[in-house]
């Protein structure tokens, strides 16, 4: 059995999905958390549940919404779970009505009954059930209350198909009948539903029907009817007329089933918003919050933990392993492989696990609290100047965790060109993999100002992205950009959700250390261990050095023209963390001297900063490049993202290094 989960954006679909299935998906308090359908096994093993992007109506505007409509038409589900926000019934039932018209067996999960109650809304559930003709289960998806009952009802009851039929008035009813007669009779989808969606100008439905029939007569009929509606009812469009008809129907239901007492207390959302979206303090609050997060990540919490791990790995673990290997009489080749390659290289990246997790914890906190969409509002004015809109900032912030989901999140942007722009800019966002490089360098060169230096890199990424947007928009002409965003009420994040979402983001990093980074590091080690003269050569004589020496002079004007830097930059294309593990391998000195010491001899603070900037801006990693290709559906844009990244990185690092030298800073 397959069940599909439909509902308005931000009504708790993904929370419900997580409770009903064994698997765990991403939750956030902003519209558009789910941009692609996700499938999970129901926890009672009775089938599968498909989580779909949130939609307001079946008629989509953006690409993520189209995914839901297409699934409704083409998917092979047996039943629908419609999740409804009890505190927003008037709006939510619009979708419910359209799903009921579709005619699939359905059950309604009446979510956020606690929020509704606090707003003074009382719902007569039995009456509502009677009027809609399908079972209704009250739930609180965030805490899981009532979800068991929902799950039981999925298996025991056969879900009901409602016999609901809305009267759209004589003109539309006549039109529906006419269109139904034109539609092919073998369609498995309700023809009345198809006709209504065609009248509503649903492009997904239209495209699908267009493949099998000629729609010119249908179009003519609709145009003709729209004129009549405009004349007789003074309505602007047929779409609005349909909406109003549905709304009248919903209002008649609500009048029967819902009572509302006005509660007159200032909600904490209003109080927080008074500060956070304050015209003066908005931007300052945002930057302050980011600074605080970095301060915690690097100074107060992260560093001591990382130092502890570092001590553990380079001390007891490395030493213990050496003793074991000696005892086993392992050849020097394998010893070097394990000690320098694996423990030195991969261990050098694992050291940063605490910092990455702390950062992810705070990103999850921001996401779950509802602050994200406020940031979009705060940033909109700036982004408007460069042909984007505030919503583009959400994918960019997601990109701080990992660029790949950031690029995916760009699907919520309605305008195709703005979406393309956002996709191209997301790689400028400093993802957590790059954090490992910053961690290494700031702890060596900027001991006093760790958080500030890292914040400056993040801000630089944003500023460069905004400037690039301006340049790109000269070539990719964006039409008038659109900005409509819903601001969900703030919620106190659930500890459980928060921890799981932190773990889910962070576990990828740990997993990558054991696979990608380990593999890459072993190859790098091998290349640095063998050379034309044989094995165990001096590092400078190795194949790696010979290859890298060719490109190294290119980086001399940026302050890091060594073959070691060139080699680690090269490997960074696979995954940015490999930059750090490569450096650990390349600079390895057997007497236990740490990478920090060596780096401080090779780089100056200025060239270190220039190097970090280069890492921030140059080629996106392999996974990001692949995602760009998939999401833009074009090799051209993929190549473009690689080339412009390199050019921008080179230019800015050059300016920083040479400018710094002229001014005599940090040498």
């Amino acid at each position: 059995m397959e069940f599909a989960l439909f509902g308005n954006p931000n009504t708790g679909k993904t929370s419900l999905f997580n409770i009903l299935t064994d698997s765990y998906a991403y939750v956030g308090n902003w519209s558009g958390v789910t941009v692609e359908k996700k499938v999970g096994d129901l926890s009672n093993n009775k089938g599968q549940l498909i989580d779909l992007p949130g939609i307001y109506t079946i008629n989509p505007l953006s690409k993520d919404e189209a995914v839901a409509t297409e699934y409704l038409m083409n998917g092979s589900f047996e039943g629908i779970i419609n999740i409804v926000d009890a505190s927003q019934l008037l709006r939510n039932l619009q979708l419910t009505i359209q799903l009921l018209e579709f005619g699939a067996p359905m059950i309604v999960g009446l979510n956020m009954i606690d929020v509704a109650k606090s707003k003074g809304i009382r719902i007569d559930q039995e009456k509502l059930e009677e009027r809609l003709g399908v079972p209704i289960i009250p739930i609180i998806a965030r805490t899981g209350k009532g979800c068991d009952r929902l799950l039981d009802n999925l298996s025991v009851h056969q879900l009901k198909t409602s016999s609901i039929k809305i009267d759209y008035g004589p003109e539309i009813e006549k039109l529906i009948e006419e269109i139904m007669r034109l539609l092919p009779s073998y369609s498995k989808i309700s023809r009345r539903w198809l006709a209504i969606q065609l009248i509503d100008a649903n492009f997904v439905v239209r495209n699908k029907l267009n493949e099998i029939m000629d729609l010119s007569l249908v179009d003519y009929l609709i145009k003709d009817c729209e004129k009549k509606i405009q004349q007789r009812y003074g309505e602007k469009s047929i779409r609005q007329f349909l909406f109003k008809r549905r709304q009248q129907f919903i209002q008649s239901i609500l009048a029967d089933c819902v009572t509302k007492q006005s509660v007159n207390k200032k909600s904490y959302t209003e109080i927080i918003d008074a500060i956070v979206t304050n015209s003066v303090f908005g931007v300052i609050t945002f930057l302050g919050l980011m600074f605080l997060i970095f301060k915690l990540t690097f100074d107060w919490l992260g560093s001591p933990l990382s130092d502890f791990l570092d001590g553990l790995i380079s001390g007891p673990i490395s030493g213990g392993m050496e003793i074991i290997l000696e005892a086993l009489h392992v050849t020097p080749f394998i010893q070097s492989l394990i000690l320098e390659g694996i423990i030195g290289g991969v261990g050098g990246v694992l050291v940063f696990v605490p910092q990455i997790f702390i950062l992810f914890f705070f990103i999850s906190l921001l996401e779950d609290s509802g602050y994200m969409s406020r940031i979009a509002v705060i940033m909109d004015r700036i982004l408007e100047l460069v042909g984007l809109n505030g919503k583009a900032f959400i994918p960019l912030i997601i990109g701080f965790g990992c660029n790949v989901p950031g690029i995916m999140a760009a699907r919520t942007i309605e305008h195709p060109k703005e979406r393309l722009l956002t996709i191209l800019l997301t790689p400028m966002m400093s993802c957590s993999a790059r954090l490992t490089v910053y961690s290494l360098f700031v702890s060596v060169f900027f001991e006093q100002h760790k958080a500030l230096i890292v914040l400056s890199l993040y801000v630089l990424g944003i500023v460069v992205a905004i400037l690039l947007a301006k340049i790109f928009s000269l070539f990719i002409k964006t039409e008038e950009s659109i900005f409509v965003i819903e601001l969900p009420p703030y919620r106190v994040p659930q500890v459980r959700t928060l921890l799981r979402s932190t773990w889910d983001k962070g576990k990828g990093f740990v997993k990558k250390a054991g696979t990608f980074i380990l593999g890459g590091t072993v190859v790098i080690w091998l290349l640095s261990y063998v050379g034309p003269a044989g094995t165990n050569v001096e590092a400078d004589e190795s194949f790696l050095a010979l290859f890298s020496q060719w490109i190294a002079p290119l980086f001399a004007p940026l302050g890091f023209g060594t073959w070691q830097a060139a080699a680690s930059l090269f490997t960074g294309f696979l995954a940015k963390e490999i930059v750090v593990s490569s450096m650990n391998v390349i600079y390895f000195v057997p007497d236990g001297e740490s990478l920090q010491h060596i780096v401080s001899g090779v780089f100056t603070p200025l060239s270190a900063y220039s190097f970090m900037v280069f890492i921030l801006l140059y080629v996106p990693c392999l996974a990001t490049v692949a995602t760009i290709k998939k999401e833009t559906d074009s090799k051209k844009w993929m190549l473009f993202s690689i080339i412009y990244g390199l050019m921008v990185a080179y230019t800015i690092s050059f300016i920083i290094y040479q400018g710094g030298r002229l001014l005599g800073i940090g040498q």
């Binding site: 072993v522 190859v523 696979l574």
Partner: protein, 50 residues
């Protein structure tokens, strides 16, 4: 010596396999970063606008 050979084979074998499979996975893009990729049977079929 035998220990060395065994260790070498295991490490290099695993490393090359890990690198190969991660590159393959990365090239697929989207799914590699998805939290429920393993249990997901949707295989990230991206729908495209025609």
């Amino acid at each position: 010596m035998i220990v060395s050979i065994i260790l070498g084979v295991i490490i290099f074998g695993y490393a090359f396999w890990a690198l190969y499979s991660s590159i393959k996975k990365s090239k697929k893009g989207v799914c590699a970063s998805c939290e429920i990729a393993e249990s997901c049977k949707g295989n990230c079929t991206t729908s495209r606008r025609k």
